[in-house]
């Protein structure tokens, strides 16, 4: 299952996830422009070098009344006019799907340098309206229509399923929230870096932390975020040239060592019914993770130094902990209690703050995770750097555990 040709990550740029582009009176295209021009500047790559672009986005048609997002890439710079571009959608995994497509084209030898942009502008509508749009990532008619905030409810049920099979305590979910918020304070582009949070707050049951769906409270949720992220993927040939030009060795340029990608049935009930006799609540998520290990030649989670996972809710991170094999199935709480998930713990999860702390511009999240993984392995993560990280794994999930993608980025 080894990739035919290697895919390198040359770096990139993210917008500040605390920004509200509607308040700044800025158009969707401005978000893309800042991310792409920022990435060119930060990496020193000339615009003329880009050969193709892939855009990951979930629902600009709904949030911004705008489709055809691949074409917007050509608006960023005159040199981009005429480039082959495309747009990819898989709900909250859209960004990772764009990355997979770009990587596949490099593996196939079609192009040597690709831009991948993940983008979502969400603060254009009210919370309730946005919640309803997000419901289209589920089977809308059957799971979301007429339901206020359908996704917190679906992921509340993931918690309920754990509770039923293994038992689940709110204090462990609160600790997950606390760690993500605390890490976000070290990340200058995290949405919640100024927000007040501690474990007591995450556990408090007052109007300051209201329930939004079953056991899910505000402190358990990821954020409504405007954001765009751009990374450059390259072939070995281009990466060699890039390394030489920036005075580095090829070995110091991160590459995608492995990937996994599976899609489960859409409805949450069907997923749970399928996994009834499985050790894992979401077996296709588990396969996504283990496929990435196999392709990277890694035996298990001890081969990765940090994880950027999809904590759209605290329950999804709780699920990720045992699916990554950090603990036995149903025992994620042990890792929480032992402090393993903190930046200096033995299995750091979401040093960036994750979706809860850094924010969750839906279509951008997968690309943001890959960029954070890249910064970790090149030592560019600043105050949220995991010391000595050489291999970092991502897990990006669309829907209620439906589309899962994982990458291992390493040097």
């Amino acid at each position: 299952m080894t990739a035919k040709r290697e895919v390198y990550v040359l770096g990139g740029y993210m917008t500040d996830f605390a920004r509200n582009w509607t308040k700044e009176n800025k158009h969707f295209s401005a978000l893309m422009r800042e991310a792409v021009l920022g990435a060119l500047e930060r990496t020193g790559i000339a615009p003329e070098e880009i050969e193709s672009a892939h855009v990951g986005n979930f629902a600009a048609e709904l949030y911004c009344m705008q489709g055809h997002l691949g074409a917007f890439f050509t608006e960023v710079h005159p040199a981009f006019s005429g480039l082959p571009t495309s747009r990819h959608e898989a709900a909250c995994a859209s960004g990772s799907i764009a990355l997979l497509a770009a990587g596949a084209e490099i593996e196939a030898g079609r192009y040597d340098l690709q831009a991948v942009v993940g983008i979502e502008q969400m603060k254009t509508v009210s919370a309730a309206q946005g919640g309803s749009y997000l419901g289209t990532a589920a089977w809308y008619d059957q799971e979301a229509k007429g339901v206020e905030f359908p996704f917190p409810k679906l992921f509340g049920r993931l918690g309920d399923e754990y509770d039923k099979r293994y038992g689940l305590k709110d204090e462990h979910l609160a600790e997950i929230s606390k760690i993500n918020y605390a890490n976000a304070k070290k990340n200058p582009n995290a949405q919640t870096r100024t927000w007040y949070m501690n474990k007591e707050h995450a556990l408090c049951r007052t109007d300051d932390n209201p329930a939004v769906g079953g056991r899910i409270r505000i402190a358990d949720c990821s954020q409504v975020t405007d954001g765009a992220v751009c990374v450059f993927l390259a072939s070995r040939e281009y990466a060699e040239k890039f390394a030489k030009g920036t005075g580095r060795k090829l070995a110091g340029i991160p590459r995608i060592k492995g990937w996994g990608h599976h899609t489960a049935r859409l409805r949450f009930d069907d997923k749970v019914a399928e996994s009834k006799s499985d050790r894992y609540v979401l077996p296709h998520v588990r396969s996504t993770i283990t496929d990435a290990w196999k392709r990277a030649g890694i035996a298990d989670v001890s081969g990765v130094d940090a994880i950027e996972t999809h904590d759209c809710f605290t329950t999804s991170e709780y699920m990720a902990i045992d699916h990554f094999g950090i603990t036995e199935p149903g025992e994620s709480w042990k890792a929480v209690e032992a402090g393993w998930l903190e930046i200096d713990g033995q299995h750091p999860i979401n040093p960036s703050g994750g979706l809860i702390g850094a924010g969750h511009p839906v279509g951008a999240t997968g690309v943001r995770q890959l960029l954070d993984a890249t910064w970790q392995v090149t030592g560019e993560a600043g105050d949220y750097q995991v010391e000595g990280a050489r291999n970092v794994q991502t897990l990006n999930i669309g829907g209620s555990g439906t589309t899962s993608v994982s990458f291992i980025v390493g040097v």
């Binding site: 917008t15 500040d16 920004r19 308040k23 700044e24 009176n25 800025k26 158009h27 295209s29 401005a30 978000l31 422009r33 800042e34 021009l37 920022g38 930060r42 605390a182 976000a184 304070k185 070290k186 200058p188 582009n189 870096r193 100024t194 007040y196 949070m197 501690n198 007591e200 707050h201 408090c204 007052t206 300051d208 930046i343 200096d344 993560a381 600043g382 105050d383 949220y384 750097q385 010391e387």
Partner: protein, 450 residues
Amino acid sequence: MPGSDGSPESAAEIRRLLASRKIERVVVLGANGTMGFGAAALFTQAVPEVIFLARSKSKAEEGLGEAIRQVRSPTVASRAVVGDYDHDLGKAVAGADLIFEALTEDFDVKKAMFDRVEEARRDDSIVATVTSGLSINELCKNRSQSFRRNFLGLHFFNPPNVIVGTELIAGRHTDPAVVDFVEAFARATLGREIVRTHDTPAFAGNRVGFKVLNEAAQLAEQIGPLLVDRIIGPYTGRALTPLATIDLVGWDIHRAIVDNVYENTNDEAHETLKLPAYMDKLMEKGVLGNKTGRGFFWKEGKVRHVLDPLTGDYRPESVLRLPRLSYIDEVANLYSQARYAEGMQAFLAADGDEAALARKVIAGYISYAFLRVGEVTDTIDGIDRIMGAGFNWAPPSVLVDTMGAVSAVRLIEEAGLAVPEALSRAVRTGEPKRFFRDRRVNTGKFFVAS
């Protein structure tokens, strides 16, 4: 920014510093004031016990109530203890790892409090003052060696739960290890953006920021507040317009800051720091900004009224006529597509007296900031970061980078102001290509499209 002006460079270094000592108990003195309860609320996120002290226990309780409201968390109370100076100060200070002084900006009041702190504190506790302008060296003069070694300024901007920019000011005798530890603690656990400044009047942020604000207040006398806030508006690189900012800060605070700078400095822009006489006069009548309802602007229901600085009267905004400033629409339209460089060029090329006046203020901001390097901070980085993270203004370097050094020099020359050597050199040599060095910051966020 890691590694800037003596700041710890790496996450590993921050972790080492954090492990070097513990902050488990913080005492906040003056916990009923805006800065006192704001800071106390922040501390409760990271510290197990925060003691709110005020003149009376009921005042301290008021402060706690405000702290809870400000961060909207009932959990503040679970880590808070309240008390008053006469009954509780001695014991609280003796048990504290960090003593945070947030009393009124009065040298003698603070000095008297430090007498009491000195008597009660342990030799190893840190004492921080949140003063926004008084000299750190003067405040600890003639105190014990252990006090001076552990004393520093930690200047939060209001409200601290929203504004992360924070100035850290060491005195001549402050132990560098204490400075490094406080920076690590504030960065990693309080989410602060720390800028190290020198012990100069109003430090870096207020020195540069209030120069611009005061110049806007001076201009209001000539062209009226509405036009001032239009021409030095969001398109010049700020979310909040200058006179609305003075109303928010409070006219009395504005006066305290500019008077302090005017009296204790003598730089090339001295006269722009002189408080306009009309402000003094109107303050006697209770015009203090938002806190009294009336400032440059006064909102009556949904109707906004605008001050006439000459008469002290207010007129509804709707009856005031502004000149048609189409260049601002053009700039905003370019910004809305993230075409910031083009927008800036449109501003620089715009015809009319208003555009020229706006350019003069922006030229003054850039020139003043660059000429303060060495005096208020070691490098332009610190001024840039505090203007960005403390004022939410486009940092001077970001403006220079966006317009280009050649345009920046021309702008300053046209305004008849002193051209800083760093900018002339950039024109001569082409270096540096960019002045703004903090690559973590999105510079586009400062250019609001309106």
